[in-house]
Symmetry: C2
Amino acid sequence: MKMWEDYIRKVVPYVPGEQPQGDLVIKLNTNENPYPPAPGVLKALREMDPDQFRRYPDPSASLLTKALADRYGLPQDQIFVGVGSDDVLGMAFLTFFNSQKPILFPDITYSFYPVWADLFKIPYETPALDHGFCVDPKDYRRENGGIVLANPNAPTGIYLPIDKVEDMVRWNQDSVVIVDEAYIDFGGQSARSLIDRYENLLVVQTFSKSRSMAGMRIGFAMGSQKLIKALQDVKYSYNSYTMDYPSVILGAEAVKDETYFCQTVAKIVKTREEGKRRFTEMGFSCTDSQTNFLFVSHKKAPARAIFEALRQERIYVRYFAAPRLEDHLRVSIGTDEEMETLYRFLEKELPNLSLR
Amino acid sequence: MKMWEDYIRKVVPYVPGEQPQGDLVIKLNTNENPYPPAPGVLKALREMDPDQFRRYPDPSASLLTKALADRYGLPQDQIFVGVGSDDVLGMAFLTFFNSQKPILFPDITYSFYPVWADLFKIPYETPALDHGFCVDPKDYRRENGGIVLANPNAPTGIYLPIDKVEDMVRWNQDSVVIVDEAYIDFGGQSARSLIDRYENLLVVQTFSKSRSMAGMRIGFAMGSQKLIKALQDVKYSYNSYTMDYPSVILGAEAVKDETYFCQTVAKIVKTREEGKRRFTEMGFSCTDSQTNFLFVSHKKAPARAIFEALRQERIYVRYFAAPRLEDHLRVSIGTDEEMETLYRFLEKELPNLSLR
């Protein structure tokens, strides 16, 4: 082993969900939106001027931050955009979590948080969710170097009411509190309403779920001018031009069509609520998900066996071989037709998969 | 000041070149390509299926790494892609420069290197270029935690012959040596030819200059499987999906058209060589640039005065208010028409700008 190999940063990378190819696949494993982006996105794509590609994009992605500022009633300098919410969150960890005190996030949550903490050598502790998979804000009333809360949480789908979120932020005004709202558009109230009162609160959202733009890699943060300025400075110290020309143009278009956005979200919520009923009828327990996925566990059939039987059928859901999760499946909300295919298969196969 | 403000990472961000808007501007300040991307890029853009946007992109960007592997005769696992070469370089600093020894790069070079070093708290030292702005490989024969060499160098445009690059790599087999070849397609031989022999050599290139794709944010690295695997692991620990769907599709198309690529590069090289002649005739000294820009200094007229006069005329070039650079201008190679406009203005105005 050469000396330079000793100085390679040691990491255990995050493993993204499988991306199976082919048209005959039903893909309910990465919480993508089953509906296409807003029609304005297609129009802007068709009209895009490829001669612009030779130019560097606007480093401030101003067209996109303006669209978001207008949509959410904030000044542009309270909005930060990045290459998916993973880029925004990773940069926030790097920017804000530089004390020697541990940051806090739940034991069961988005599995990227410990990966970023390890990457940037940030100590962390993970208060356990209760038996119903809920966050108890009291667990976050201790010295810390920062707090990260996914709300609604993943993979549980459970939403922490806004007054409890505010409780956590109020108790922790010496720390930056990040609320990761990847799924908030499908249920619950955004902590965005609190940023005027708490300068230490950063709210992160994404275009990957409710705006059907996972392939375009757009995420954003909303917060005080101080927090956003600090993020911008770190961004400009890493990569001046993170947002490419198409993502700025098409992202701005996606935000403008509020009607389409509301219709799409409403369809997914309707399918989700029907899903809760159907899964329960089949003997599953099911959290009260406020997201675009369900978190289910069958009383007789092991999750891994169901996962594998579905995979054979080319229906992909997510299974986590992790403590407290190994009895559960995370099922993204697809179209009604895709969900019906899933239910019919399960209704047929569950008796064969169940332990006596 | 709140306690959380103490823990914000302290940085001095990189300042990108101005991006003036409008059609009447001649923009020779950010080394963009004056010609559009390959025709296949336009075709692929027009045929792009926006329904794919709802899906996460391929995290390995395999279509793009395959196109690069085919083009450069390397296996796919010796290629890493990122959001512009800045993303690739930033990630390489984070991945490889984790010893306590200082990394080395020249005092005059791409001004992002010290910014990344500061961001990731990497100590560094900067051996001075000689009076002709050349790198002396002997300056790099001392203990270090890594080496970064821009070749050709910026903003000087000067190319270090490949045998001297190899000398640096051979002397430093305990360190990772990064050769940043943003401009190599315009002159000189790529250190890619050395990667089979030196496992510690990482060669970084970009689509922003020779491939007219600055707006798409695509950069790549070539190196040993060990180096590429280490970069991949850090990438998957930061953001699984850095390359969006359009950049993968359009980037692959750009690589495929070798004929267009060669024609475009040849045109720029011809304009550059003519530029050396014209600038010299006007009383400028001019390095033997092997890039898509010229680095010039007038014997009588101060660089700042020329810069400002040009800016008044809406002709943008780059001026660096930095030690050893403040007498120089960096002028990107535009079309022949744009360059002619520049020369005519200078021929007319230089007498007025010159000190007696």
